[in-house]
């Protein structure tokens, strides 16, 4: 191996990651007897007017990069210390930032100002193959498929049928096992004839419990604490001045003593209609600002909701507690394909 005698020592042959100051052609680290142009990518000389100001002073940049790395090391170590000491979120964040940002800043500056800047050029080689290769590919696809299809039509057909069947057969149970069919469940709530109105803690509502302007979210007794039931059963009970209440046709006995009960599920997207504008007697959905007129069948007066909130018919039982006459006469909540047209009536004159 003696012919390698005058090969450069490994330390001298870093090709691209040359010693700092590489852009400065005559800078430090090049006086090692080699022709620097031969071992390094060609780089702009230090007085090249295209170089950014910083790149003309590699020593200064080296200093900044070094300082940046030192700060970064301190930051990373401090992050470790902060973690050990449980110093708190802000201290972790500050030390993590100082550590990573300054390490990154130093490295970026190193790459930007201390490495040969070029600009370098790379040729693009056409990606496409020759016309002949393209034809060969198409020929392979067509001819070989042709052989299969022409000679083994039945076998090919059977294979495709089999795979197709498997696809269909696999898709159905996979989808089907994800959940039950909707069936009639979107049409139902747990409100039934005689359901006692209770609040979320199970306390029933007596006719003397609420003042005019009062509002309470109620559920059918026994279903007040399960989330799935709450999601459909939630009903808002409001007491308004019974004289101002517009009684719709067929709803004469639905609102005793000014107590009205409407589904709390917005007919737009199902958010709870949780805001009550007492003076205007409007129920407002905080999601998309649909507003429902409490005095007049909860018809929407503003916003994207297309239908009134379904009304729950209620009455006082013999002991003075509120009960439902029956369930809602229509599905609660947002619209869906299977929903029938019930409940789309026009608002009565206000």
């Amino acid at each position: 191996m003696s012919e390698h005698e005058d090969a450069p020592a490994p330390g001298d042959v870093e090709v691209l990651g040359a010693a700092g100051g590489a852009p400065a052609g005559g800078g430090p680290g090049t006086g090692d007897g080699h022709d620097p142009e031969a071992v390094r990518l060609p780089a702009a000389p230090a007085d090249d007017p295209h170089l950014q100001e910083a790149a003309r002073h590699p020593r200064r940049v080296e200093g900044i990069v070094g300082l940046s790395f030192l700060i970064g090391i301190a930051g990373v170590c401090a992050f470790g210390g902060a973690y050990v000491e449980s110093a708190g979120t802000q201290v972790y964040a500050a030390t993590l930032f100082i550590g990573l940002f300054f390490l990154g800043f130093g490295l970026t500056a190193w790459g930007k100002y201390l490495m040969p800047r070029g600009p370098f050029v790379e040729e693009r080689h056409p990606m496409e193959s020759s016309a002949r290769d393209r034809q060969a590919m198409a020929a392979a696809l067509v001819e070989r498929t042709g052989i299969v299809v022409r000679r083994r039509k039945v076998l090919g057909g059977l294979l495709v049928t089999g795979l197709g069947c498997f696809g269909i057969v696999a898709a159905f149970p996979l989808l089907r096992s994800l959940g039950p069919k909707p069936g009639s469940s979107l049409f139902k709530t747990n409100w039934k004839k005689g359901s006692l109105l209770v609040d979320i803690n199970g306390k029933p509502v007596h006719r003397t419990d609420m003042q005019v302007g009062g509002l309470l979210t109620v559920f059918p007794k026994g279903k007040q604490s399960t989330t799935t039931a709450q999601a459909v059963d939630q009903t808002v009970l409001i007491r308004v001045q019974s004289t101002t209440l517009v009684t719709m046709k067929g709803r004469g006995d639905w609102a005793p003593d000014g107590y009205v009960a409407y589904s709390k599920v917005c007919t737009h997207l199902g958010c709870p209609v949780g805001l009550y504008e007492q003076e205007l007697e409007l129920l407002v959905c905080p999601c998309h600002q649909s507003m429902f007129n409490v005095r007049d069948g909860a018809f929407p007066v503003f916003g994207p909701a297309p239908r009134p909130l379904p009304q729950l018919p209620i009455y006082f039982d013999s002991t003075g507690f509120l009960r439902a006459r029956r369930g809602f006469d229509q599905p609660v909540g947002p619209g869906f394909w299977e929903r029938t047209t019930i409940g789309n009536g026009k608002a009565s004159a206000t």
Partner: protein, 523 residues
């Protein structure tokens, strides 16, 4: 490097036998023997990355995703996707004794009881917001410069798919804590599924395992959020970058730049140093955001309960355009023949985003058809040189920004003390007017800019000063060294460091007499 006789006897000899590149040469040889990396690896190291700053936007997205994965792994160690109800007795006293889902409890616990847990959670959330944001800005750069043109249509499509998946996974991740606001978001998502004609109720029931809310949605969202979507996203990012390497970068026109080359910095070491440094800086900045800019303080919202809701409910920024569209949509349901089509939901929440993303996906094909331009393009357009495309993009941004702003109708009405009705109608008008006006103005500005003489050139500054008499005079600023070269770029040099051919002679450079090891610079 043929060995002439037996094995080397001393270490010095062994080292010499490896040639001038020592251990690294040995490692390369060992790997190349087995997987053949030398040729391709060399090409990769030489890959040129353009130096223009706008090529950094995609890097922001990539590194936000790295932070998302890293912090996300941390969060999976503590988060429990459970819908079962527990009573909280943790370190955060205001919630003590409250009933909540296991998911909410574990999120509160990992925020307060796990060391650096809150930092990780907030970094994760910020990284998601920055991820989607940087994808959008990156996409705008690609669009306005025409980088999506042939041969890069496929990568454009992959990019749009990544954006959709990022938004989707962002929404699902935001839903996992099961707090009052995210629970309402899930409720809205369920209702949007319901609105789809024919199959809506089936889709909703299959996703939720029955009627809303059921007990399984958090578990399903969890596995989708931490495994299924991230896997697809990682695969698509791989394809995105693979195509980028295969097709090479686009570049802006400039001195020495043609359709047939790329000018910039090689992957190794310049770009590697800059981009690694940049990754560290992005992580550091996300760390600061995570530690100092509170985001999604779920302990203030409280656990989700179906009958409860809070005021001014707003989703993460990237869902804002859907929320705004839902708000300004008139209540146009259709009913008949015993069926309902809730257009008031289906149009803004399903059809509208579907149209937007499909226009984006099909744009390269549409543009090809209208311009009859079927050529390969590696040089980028300046936006002003393509007024129609730039106007179309600006109109789309105008439209999306308007519906995004419309997601805060209630807040705006409160802030400006005007009626909600006026704000609503303002946006209903604006959503039509703003895109048209933005598009026309952009088109006009582009056309005008094309006609400004010397708009390309950088002008020397003028210094305005006042004389003792009070007269203002403008004189050209003193010349800086290199001013005369300012618009010119240096001649790009080939990146490849060619080894001299084994047969000595042709290259004409000085040879040290060792075949195969002497390097010359220009290929």
């Amino acid at each position: 490097m043929a060995m002439t006789d037996g094995r080397p006897r001393t270490r010095r000899e062994a080292r010499r036998a490896l040639g001038p590149y020592g251990r690294i040469q040995q490692a390369v040889n060992e790997l190349d023997d087995r997987v053949g990396i030398a040729k391709g690896g060399r090409v990769l190291l030489d890959k040129i990355f353009p130096d223009h700053w706008s090529f950094m936007l995609g890097e922001v997205a990539l590194y936000s995703f790295v932070v998302l994965v890293a912090t996300g792994i941390f969060l999976t160690l503590y988060y429990v996707p459970s819908s079962s109800i527990v009573v909280y007795h943790g370190v955060y006293k205001p919630l003590d004794g409250m009933k909540m889902s296991g998911a909410y409890e574990s999120t509160v616990n990992l925020s307060f009881a796990v060391r650096a847990g809150l930092l990780m959670r907030q970094m994760h959330h910020w990284a998601a917001d920055v991820f989607v944001g940087s994808i959008v800005v990156h996409m705008a750069r690609i669009f306005f410069t025409g980088a999506f043109r042939k041969p890069r249509e496929l990568n454009w499509t992959i990019g749009i798919t990544l954006l959709i998946l990022a938004i989707l996974n962002g929404f699902i991740g935001y839903s996992l804590p099961d707090d009052l606001i995210s629970g309402t978001g899930i409720r809205i998502a369920y209702s949007i599924l319901l609105s789809i004609p024919f199959v809506g109720s089936y889709l909703a029931f299959f996703l939720f395992g029955g009627p809303y809310p059921g007990t399984i949605i958090l578990e399903r969202f969890y596995i989708v959020h931490v495994l299924i979507l991230p896997l697809i996203i990682i695969g698509l990012i791989g394809a995105h970058l693979g195509l980028l390497v295969r097709q090479k970068h686009t570049q802006f026109p400039g001195h020495g730049r043609t359709e047939h080359n790329v000018v910039g910095s090689p992957l190794f070491p310049q770009f590697a140093a800059k981009t690694t440094g940049f990754m560290l800086m992005v992580t550091g900045v996300l760390g600061v955001l995570g530690g100092y800019a509170q985001i999604n303080p779920i302990w203030q919202f409280g656990p989700y309960q179906p009958p409860k809701i809070s005021y001014a409910v707003q989703p993460d920024w990237y869902m804002g355009f859907l929320d705004g569209a839902l708000r300004i949509m008139p209540s146009w349901q259709w009913t008949g023949w015993g069926h309902t089509i809730p257009w008031e939901v289906f149009l803004p929440a399903v059809v509208f985003p579907g149209l937007v993303f499909n226009i984006c996906l099909m744009w390269p094909a549409l543009e090809r058809r209208f311009t009859k331009d079927y050529e390969m393009h590696n040089l980028l357009d300046r936006p002003r040189d393509r007024p129609k495309r730039t106007a179309a993009g600006a109109a789309m941004i105008g439209l999306l920004f308007t519906v995004f702003a419309a997601s805060s109708t209630d807040v705006l009405a409160n802030y400006f003390q005007v009626s909600l009705n006026e704000v609503l109608w303002f946006f209903r008008v604006a959503v039509v007017v703003v895109p048209i006006v933005t598009g026309l103005v952009t088109w006009k500005v582009c056309v005008e800019m094309q006609h400004v003489p010397g708009a390309v050139k950088r002008k020397r500054a003028m210094v305005v000063s006042r004389t003792a008499e009070g007269e203002y005079v403008a004189v050209p600023a003193p010349e800086r060294p290199g001013d005369e070269h300012h618009e010119l770029e240096p001649e790009p040099v080939p990146v490849r460091i060619e080894l001299e051919p084994e047969t000595v002679g042709a290259s004409g450079t000085a040879s040290t007499g060792e075949p195969g090891v002497r390097r010359v610079v220009r290929g």
